[in-house]
Symmetry: C2
């Protein structure tokens, strides 16, 4: 029943990534390729999950296998752990399936103790080096394994430097460092109540445990959530013979990329330091040399390095990010992996690799992370300017891009400032539909409340405007027009900058740069389009959105939210009067005034679409969202409507709901006020017929009835729509096919999709609401507890950002199957926020939807994700 | 492909109820028994649904079959339709599967026209009778078939009576009635723009159509909803040869029951009128004779009648409700059916029929409508006093029983008046948890807002207190302490009466009577208990509830809502301080104060339960429900807590939620504040252990974690509960089994029930919330549109009162199956409002739940419904 928990590097290969982690698999692969790799072994990711399953203990079986592997390493190196003459030292590093740089812990120089350090000094002939290594090990082990703060050790070191009257660590000699070691051990004993462990095996087991434990440290959890990495993957642990780049002038260490990770340019790119360890390169005390300089310093080593780099790139068929060390003139590779790169570099590398014959087009499509494309579509901060800037607060990265401008606190002020030509950042507690014009006039939007799917976030993404939401660290006083953060007060008109891709907030005017889209983009996206089966539409509510969407490659509009048209300044008073009408007759009067406006919008959209399809959703939100809440506004409206303030205020109050999200909205409005649906159906059909006649486009209007939970309610509203549509066609003496369908956004609709498909000609999954109802929490309120849920590892990701395939996905799949059973040619799409999320898109591909619809700026992301899903499935 | 749409009475029998309707099937059965039945035929219920499927038209095939059947009736009677000598006349009556008295339409004397009336006059030798029949037919046909108001005809009749100087219709002679007929036909022509139809076949088709159409009239829709009759059943139409009880002193008509429908006493009970038609018995102009008087008037007929009545009761093995007519000394039966009866009568009849050897005990169990038992458990109005009372408004029949008392408008006032010994009716806009003590002090509760599952309704049912909710016809001014209705103003202290079984409101002090429970009840319920498989528990939150529940036969508590204990006067300030605590330490301080109180309640409940099981739910509602909303209360609390008003007000405001039902509640509270769950688990376990030690009861506490949607959140909270429970057992040095389970009330919990069952030892279906989430509407807000939904036949019943088996039921079944797959011995129950609804209980039985839990006063209903479900399934 025993299982293999530990693999020597010589026992694995690159295909074993899930078991050995990325780093372990690549070390094994490089060993197999015969490259110079300090040997060692990998404790598997399964051992990590076993550690957690066993209540955070490493089983005896695993411990035994680690000890056995260690013996093999000793034999290979002909060194012994803890030997008093030339002892074996190892590094212990994490290595998960997916790269998580800096998230988990590393321990170097493990194996040193009071005896071994002497042997090490003798073996290397360098006592200073040996004691420096030992004191570094004590510090690292204490910090990483035992949780003793690093700064305590730094303080001891500083004291000794002061005593000796020196400034740099390097100015301390071997004896000084011996003293440091003594003091470090004393510090350890004081804190831990026991001696620093002298048994290297004990050190090793503790270190492995620490790496396993670090899988669940808070920054790793956050990183995983941001990068869709499941918590049950676990991390592997790599135990590797130490090599030293700091043994003199024929030693060194460095990192290099086979191509430029910023531009993608083909050519080695990297840097190294003579006589240094890896951490020195990072620390930035000495300035590293460009890698090409190595050719002068050590021509033979350089030649060997370049050969191996080229071999690795050819082998992995991707740009490589490599770490290496030169120990006394001998080159070792410590790591290789596919290098992280900017979006522009990713495109160039993908296209170049195809041109170089290294990849097929489909393979190239897999080389770019869909979410990265965002970088190409939004302004970013100038890299140099950003480096100097200080983050004062962090909110949610709600809509990508960077923005800098003067702060304003009301939509009205933002609008006016925008009209004056100012760059504006709108700062609000939260936004509401009334703010829409002010939002459109702003470079960026910052809100205190609200999550990734709050009004601000959704609208900003739709507009392609940068947005940081839910930034609870700032306190806004909208009335007195200032906000405070970190003890500072920022008043109207002062400059701030926000980064919607990271959530960072800065109190300064940081330079932004517009992205340049190269020819590589079009070529690359062409390959993606050729590979995908899913169509990609955009959500858009007006002709401007449609133009954006089409430019980004949308094949139609998947969701036109008609209510967004209702908020425009000229319209909202009529909308309000319509809502507050006491009789159908009165309501029809105001609807008649709205008809030409809605129709005009639809005509504009149909014109911009040039024959591409568009799904228009009938009025959806609860009516009170359109109503004024301030006394003053109600008084004005009452005067206009010729009723008393008291009466109107009472009517407004009567529309209050306990749970508006689950109240009188969606098709429920059309059931109680059929005349609203009638007006909207007429506006859509008249617009479609007129544009079709004027422009010759072939239009098949798709009219969508929202919030259906029961087939009879769909049938009722559909009856009104069909009757109206046919009347319009008759009046205009026109023939036109049109489709009536529904959103699937209520669990009961999914459960009874076979019935609903009898009436619905298409389904569009409204996964925002479906997620809310299926989980039983509203996205506006979930902020109060979701952080606790992430912290306690109950949820690993935000189900509003990434589709919950286990629960919500079950309903989507069920509805798709039931729908197709009743109506085999039913058209299926998704129009929730998930329509722009790559992992959700992959799910949509798998369950066989026809299209996804997302905000215009996400369309390229969706096109690429759809392509990757199709390629993955094969 | 032709189908049989029409059955002669001689072609059917009692088993064909679904196809022929109740009346049609019984007429066929009586024909088969050789009883004297005027012959005719039945158009099937399928023809009715076909009529609706074909867009409200009767197909040619059906019309043809009707005409063929008519020919057979002509042959049987040797009369011809529209004959100028002794023509055939028929009645046209509806007859659905379930009896719906008075809901649909009837037409008598069909077949008369200008020619036939003469033949009829000649044939009967009674021209006055013939013309009276004709004018009645014109009036009835015009009203029922054509929708011309009856009152127009009454006005014409009144004019003629005035001209003739007479007062009664009977004083008009044949010539007068001829004139009436002429004027009626003129009126018809004026209204319809065409002549009154002379073709009897046309009359018949129109009449059949009218009956089909009446299936969907508003009162029928309401009746069906109240009586759980599906809208797709349709009604059959019975066309029957007319017989006349108004042909002289050897004619007559009457209705009779084989046993007394009010008391159940065995013996004929009924009344009749000599020389009259059925409508005259109802009209009340002449006083009918008791049926026994018939023995004197017509001994032969009486003897025959009694023989047939006895034969029918023996045949149907149930008390019969019969209609009969005597035409010229010849007895005809027009209808028989199982008679409606009071609850007391139902019990007596069921028990007597067993004692008489006519029924087995199981058969007897099927003879009582479960909902009827309500009558036996609550006060009712004195029948005579009620007759004289005037209904001034109608709300929802939210909690059964009758109440009369002085009105009070605040819980405080109600409590004080109750303490003074007054009978109190509490009148509120809506109730909230703070009103609970005032509600307990009241005889009845009347609210303006809120549905069948509003706070007032749920709490009142739990207390067994009469409640009328959602009575929008009254306007309450709580501050000035009065309400107005129908133009009248009722101030504090005035008497009103309300009927929670009908929703009626009266402005007077109507005498109420307490129900008497006879020995029949216990005997009958014993048979029910023997027949059922489902256990029946009650929902209860305190020792008083438990006592009630046990008295009503509950086998345990299925849901103890711990939050209800939080609202008591002495506790709420501590609860508030606990909620508003800034630190865990502070919160624990207040929790420590609450612990002994909760524990005391649990001890009281465990003592009353005497070893029966109890499921205790951890804190569920959103926290702001406990908080004060008035400035004054916040100020008081702030002073007590030693914080500023502003600070406390801000904290209270920060707990505001957009959609509280989908907010920070249920197990989400335990995830963010584990110390609350800890305190509650401790209170439950300490209480259980102490009662078990003191009383020797064997207690297995069942701790229920609410609102779970994801197994990991259950695992987390369960971890806290288990740790605490084990600690208590250790402290008390006790051994006790306990179970931890969850509510299934969120769709995702049902969808992932296989995962959840890994942690949950029991499931309790919280179908209130599950219905809300599955339908996507909150019960508090649905009132705004549900009426439109009923009106437009989108919903046929209130899904909060009767479980929606199509949608919500699918989730329940799925969860039951998945749960059992993971954990075969998982205990499954339901604790939503549906646990007391008979049709929902039948569903619970079918999907194999272990128990249902309902309010204490519904326990007998649930026991009977569970028995009937078990018997039905066999």
């Amino acid at each position: 029943m025993s299982k293999k928990w530990v693999y020597m590097f010589s026992e694995g290969d690159a295909s074993m990534r899930n078991l050995l982690g990325g780093k372990g698999a690549n070390l094994a692969e490089m060993t197999k390729l015969g490259l110079p790799i300090p040997q060692g072994f990998t404790v598997t990711t399964e051992a990590c999950t076993d550690y957690y399953d066993q209540g955070k203990t490493i089983s005896e079986e695993i411990k035994g296998q680690i000890e056995d592997a260690l013996k093999v390493v000793e034999e290979i190196n002909n060194k012994k752990f803890g030997d008093n003459n030339n002892p074996l030292l190892v590094s212990v590093r994490s290595g998960a399936r997916a790269s998580m740089p800096g998230m988990m812990d590393t321990i170097l120089n493990l194996g040193l103790n009071d005896v071994a350090v002497e042997g090490f000094a003798a073996g290397t002939g360098n006592p200073r080096f040996a004691y420096d290594s030992y004191r570094r090990f004590i510090q690292m082990f204490s910090d990483v394994v035992m949780g003793i703060s690093k700064s305590k050790f730094e303080r001891v070191l500083d004291e000794i430097k002061e005593q000796k009257g020196v400034k740099l660590d390097t100015e301390l000699d071997a004896d000084d460092l011996k003293e440091v070691v003594v003091k470090f051990k004393a510090l350890y004993k004081e804190d831990m109540g026991k001696d620093f462990p002298q048994d290297p095996k004990e050190q090793l087991m503790e270190a492995v445990t620490a790496v396993f434990r670090s899988w669940d440290n808070p920054r790793a959890i956050v990183y995983r959530r941001m990068n869709d990495i499941p918590g049950d993957w676990g991390t592997a642990v790599n135990v590797q013979t130490m090599v030293f780049g700091n043994m003199g002038d024929t030693s060194g260490t460095g990192v290099a990329f086979t191509r430029n990770p910023a531009t993608g340019e083909n050519g080695i790119f990297g840097e190294y330091l003579i006589n240094a360890q890896g951490e020195d390169v990072v620390a930035g005390i000495r300035t590293p040399q460009p890698i090409t300089k190595l050719e002068e310093d050590m021509p033979e080593v350089y030649k060997q390095f370049m050969e191996i780099a080229s071999k690795l790139e050819n082998h992995y068929r991707d740009m490589q990010d490599m770490e290496f060390t030169i120990e006394n003139g001998k080159l070792y590779f410590l790591q290789t992996r596919n290098g992280k790169r900017t979006a522009a570099a990713a495109l160039k590398i993908a296209v170049d690799l195809v041109d170089e014959g290294m990849l097929t087009e489909k393979e190239a499509v897999m080389k770019v992370e869909p979410k990265q494309l965002d970088q190409l579509l939004h302004p970013n901060f100038d890299a140099a300017a950003l480096k100097a800037a200080k983050v004062v607060a962090k909110g949610l990265a709600a809509s990508p891009g960077a923005a800098a401008g003067r702060v304003y606190f009301t939509a009205e002020d933002a609008k006016e400032a925008g009209a004056r030509g100012e760059r504006v950042v709108l700062v609000r507690l939260e936004t509401s539909p009334e703010d829409i014009e002010g939002m459109a006039a702003s470079e960026g939007i910052l809100t205190v409340r609200g999550g990734m799917t709050s009004h601000a976030a959704v609208v900003a993404r739709g507009m392609g405007t940068c947005c940081v939401s839910g930034c609870g660290e700032i306190t806004v006083n909208e009335e007195e027009k200032y906000f405070t953060v970190a003890g500072q007060k920022i008043v109207e008109g002062e400059y701030i900058s926000i980064d919607g891709s990271t959530g960072n907030v800065y109190l300064e005017d940081i330079k932004t740069v517009k992205p340049e889209i190269s020819g590589n983009f079009a070529r690359f996206m062409g390959w993606a389009d050729a590979a995908r089966r899913l169509k990609v539409r955009a959500n858009g509510d007006n002709p401007r959105d449609v133009k954006n969407a089409v430019e980004f490659g949308a094949e139609g509009i998947g969701l036109c939210r008609t209510e967004h048209m209702f908020f425009e300044e000229a319209r909202i008073p009529i909308v309000r009067k319509m809502i507050l009408s006491k009789t159908e007759e009165e309501r029809r009067k105001y609807l008649d005034q709205l008809l030409p406006m809605q129709k005009g919008d639809f005509k504009g959209m149909y014109e911009s679409l040039g024959g591409r399809p568009m799904t228009v959703r009938l009025l959806d939100p609860p009516l009170h969202e359109f109503l004024p809440s301030h006394e003053e506004d109600i008084r004005t409206l009452a005067a206009e409507m010729g009723v008393s303030y008291e009466e109107l205020a009472a009517t407004v109050a009567s529309l209050h709901e306990f749970n508006p999200m689950m109240g009188h909205r969606g098709c429920r409005l059309a059931v109680t006020y059929p005349e609203i649906a009638e007006m909207q159906a007429r506006a859509i059909m008249e617009a479609a017929v007129e544009v079709s006649q004027e422009k010759g486009y072939e239009i098949v209007p798709e009219i969508m009835i929202p919030l259906v939970g029961e087939v009879k309610e769909l049938a009722y509203v559909k009856g009104i729509v069909v009757e109206t549509a046919n009347k319009v066609l008759e009046e205009k003496n026109a023939k036109m096919e049109y489709k009536v369908g529904t959103m699937i956004e209520i669990p009961r609709a999914a459960l009874t999709a076979d019935e609903i498909a009898k009436e619905a000609e298409f389904f569009s999954f409204g996964t925002n609401d479906l997620t809310q109802m299926t989980f039983g929490f509203s996205r506006d309120d979930a902020g109060k507890f979701l952080d606790s849920y992430y912290e306690k590892k109950i949820y690993e990701f935000d189900p509003f950002a990434k589709l919950d395939q286990t629960g919500v996905g079950q309903l989507v799949q069920m509805a798709a199957e039931k729908g197709r059973k009743t109506r085999p040619d039913i058209k299926l799409g998704i129009c929730g926020e998930h329509g722009g999320d790559p992992s959700s898109i992959e799910f949509c591909h798998k369950v066989g939807l026809n299209y996804v619809s997302c905000s215009p700026f996400r369309v390229p992301v969706a096109r690429l994700a759809a392509a990757q899903a199709a390629i993955n499935q094969k």
